[in-house]
């Protein structure tokens, strides 16, 4: 049980770190870069969703 709490803690920290870095870096991107990032993010989550759907989650 404790190991899962640690996993959860690690995942939350990773997501928080990546979100912070993304928020910092996005300010320096051009409008076109922001649009491309948005499209790729939507694509990434879409493909991840399909992947999890395929493996039966």
């Amino acid at each position: 049980m404790r190991i899962y709490i640690l996993y959860g803690f690690g995942i939350v920290l990773c997501i928080a770190g990546v979100s912070y870095l993304a928020a910092e870096y996005i300010r320096y991107l051009s409008e076109l870069g922001k649009l491309a990032c948005l499209i790729l993010t939507v694509g990434m989550f879409g493909f991840l969703g399909k992947f999890f759907q395929e493996i039966g989650w």
Binding site: L29, L32, C37, L48, E54
Partner: protein, 171 residues
């Protein structure tokens, strides 16, 4: 096999995101301003000017001693694949009125190259403040249509050593 394809596509999107962050974050036009007052050189990094454009707009304050010139150095770093041509103008303002032009030049910067400009704000152009009171001037720098932040506020003061203490008359 099909499910792995989705995973690979998701990973490809993630790699693309990171690549855009690195590439797009690096490319662009970057301004660096150096100000030399007295024996001190202050550097205003491109980050500062970019933050100004993203909403945190406030002037940059710098102190200077009255009677001494203020030297400026301005770097334009062109991190793009094409030549960048523009006009650089610097002027000094007081109470929202243009007092004088300090510098004006058309520049052309090749791709992934840098150009440096220098100018001086002579001491004679500025009034000497009364000791204990700071006089403020704004130096505005324009690159084409873009003005760097809200300018650089130059706060002039008279050094304490120049204040002469007059003893009260005896008797």
């Amino acid at each position: 096999m099909r499910r792995n394809l989705f995973l690979y596509l998701a990973i490809a999107c993630f790699v693309g995101l990171i690549a855009i962050f690195i590439f797009d974050g690096y490319t662009g036009i970057y301004d660096t301003v150096y100000i030399i007052t007295g024996e001190r050189e202050q550097q205003i990094d491109p980050d500062y000017w970019q933050n100004q454009r993203s909403g945190y707009s406030y002037p940059y304050y710098i102190g200077a001693t009255a009677g001494e010139p203020v030297h400026f150095r301005y770097d334009i770093d062109n991190r793009r694949f094409s030549t960048y041509s523009t006009t650089v103008e610097a002027s000094v303002w007081k109470s929202n009125e243009r007092m004088a032009d300090l510098f004006s030049q058309s520049v052309s910067v090749s791709a992934f190259d840098k150009v440096t400009m220098e100018w001086t704000l002579p001491a004679e152009m500025l009034e000497t403040p009364v000791p204990g009171v700071a006089l403020e001037y704004t130096v505005k720098i324009k690159r084409g249509e873009i003005e760097l932040g809200q300018g650089i506020i130059l706060s002039l003061f008279t050094p304490v050593e120049s204040i002469k203490i007059v003893p009260p008359p005896s008797g």
